[in-house]
């Protein structure tokens, strides 16, 4: 078994500016209906969207991408029953993850200093050779 780690950060004020300029066109092109509903449209919305965008990018970093690059909405952040963030993959993102032997992805999101950060850790159960793989 091996693990993959992906991390990304996103400035919250950049997301806030995008929402201000493009409104729902911005949120609905990047985020699923579930994510849009989860973030709401209150004062903390930009922070929520920034964390989710960082999570999508963190997941992209653990996927081996060739010709096919998953759409942003094919990587979705959900909340578990206990309130923990979870990654749900759809479409091409799910197919790529399966082809890599990724069975489970753990996600942590944090906010502070105007930045949202996301870290993902994935377990790979199939044999896989790559520069971003560390055996444990």
């Amino acid at each position: 078994m091996s693990i993959l780690v992906g991390i990304d950060v996103q400035a919250i004020d950049e997301v806030e500016a995008s929402i201000k300029e493009f409104g729902a066109r911005y949120t609905h092109r990047l985020f699923t209906d579930h994510e849009v509903a989860s973030c709401g449209d209150g004062p903390g919305a930009a922070s929520g969207f920034a964390g989710r965008f960082a999570a999508k990018e963190a997941v992209l970093k653990i996927l081996e991408l060739n010709e096919i690059v998953p759409r942003w909405k094919s990587i979705e952040v959900r909340r578990s029953m206990g309130g923990q963030p979870e990654v749900a993959l759809h479409g091409e993102a799910a197919e790529i993850a399966r082809s890599q032997g990724i069975e489970e992805i753990s996600l942590s999101i944090s906010h502070g200093g105007g930045i949202a950060s996301a870290t993902v850790i994935a377990q790979v159960t199939q044999g896989r050779i790559g520069a971003r793989q560390w055996a444990i």
Binding site: E14, S18, R25, Y26, R29, L30, F53, R71
Partner: protein, 86 residues
């Protein structure tokens, strides 16, 4: 093509947040290697939609669509864009 690329450059200038001067970026240079972030590419996409009065289909909502000025113009041309509307 020239006018198309000029408008793309105007949009990149306004929304791309590139840390380098666009004048130093060739049409086929990798924009991500020149500092375009994924998030900024989304803003570029939405601003391009405004500039050309089009909507990028889901099939083009990928990072690779915005990896170069040439790639962006190719995507716009695949959507039927031939000349800037502004």
């Amino acid at each position: 093509m020239g006018d198309l690329n000029a408008t793309i450059r105007d949009v990149l200038e306004a929304h791309g947040r590139l840390p380098v001067s666009l004048s130093s970026v060739n049409d086929d240079d990798d924009l991500y290697e020149n500092g375009l972030t994924s998030h900024a590419s989304v803003n570029v996409m939405l601003a391009l939609e405004d500039a050309f009065e089009v909507e990028f289909p889901d099939s083009l909502l990928r990072k690779s669509t915005f990896e170069s000025i040439k790639a962006i113009s190719g995507a716009l041309e695949s959507m039927g864009v031939e000349a800037p509307s502004v």
